[in-house]
Symmetry: C2
Subunit: 167 residues, 2 copies
Amino acid sequence: MEIKKVAKGEFVQKPDELKHKIIHVVTGLLRMYLVDDDGKEHIYMFAPEGWTLSDFAAIAESKKSIFYIDAIENSQIEIITKGVDEKIPRTLDEYTDQTIEMMGRRIATLQNRVVMLLSFSALDRYKQFIATYPDIVNRVPQRMIASYLGITPQALSKIRGQKNTKR
Amino acid sequence: MEIKKVAKGEFVQKPDELKHKIIHVVTGLLRMYLVDDDGKEHIYMFAPEGWTLSDFAAIAESKKSIFYIDAIENSQIEIITKGVDEKIPRTLDEYTDQTIEMMGRRIATLQNRVVMLLSFSALDRYKQFIATYPDIVNRVPQRMIASYLGITPQALSKIRGQKNTKR
DNA sequence: AAATGGCGTTAACCTAGATTAATAAATCTA
DNA sequence: TAGATTTATTAATCTAGGTTAACGCCATTT
């Protein structure tokens, strides 16, 4: 396990790297995102202090990751590196309590995210985001929140205008 | 743990029940879905043989579930029931290898789903679905696939027409 | 076999959010 | 601190997919 400082804007991972990374954020704030065929960024998740980032699907399927990971703030992180073909632990005693807890939280988060993307309007997604991650809201630019919500910065700007006049 | 037969169309869970359920599918096919404020159904996941269904977020947050679960085919299932306030296991030795494996697969699946919902067009979502779940495609009505993809049955029908003529 | 109800398809119209573009404010950099 | 770059906002226009509605096809029930 490697401890590292990353400056704002610095990359920790790029797609197609030959090693998988599991990144634990000690201080600061990172983001994990993909770039689609049209060159558009889509933020998969933010990771503030205490969160862990990794491409579970890539590790599970022994594929290369499609995600970029970079720092939104100067951060301190711990990195565990594994070969692309290295298998996920197969039995219980290869796991730690901490890993299990992280997995449970991750499933709950992803589940809520899918429900939101499936059934909420852009406005409701935004409301839920600020209710769920009030601290993140003030630490990242609007356009990244828009990207996380699956809408354009322009649409988010419009929504915020409406939201304020409607009260 | 309770073993049960459920007939096609029969409910296994409805929202707001006072017990959480973890459902393992032995044979057959179930679906887990929610109904939004406009009365529209959104399918969260399908569960054929070997899959496990549960509302992780509700269990993690000790809340009541928002999901319906019912049988698409006559099925045989195993149900584990827990009180709504009953805590998720806290330490490793309360887990089984099987549970851990299920969690890993679930994260990978959900991650792929979020990426798809964030960055794919309706057509690409459909293509990815039939590539990933070829067997499910022929076991569920189109309208349910549409619901899973986050589009209307009419939109899916149109897409399928295009897809065929474009070759 | 008629009636009922679910399902898939097609088509006309509509709307939430995307796209494009222009501007101003904030932030970075030399 | 001047210039360059990024960000947020507003507005005009466009479009993927939603909505509504009608029709035909199977199944199931009577």
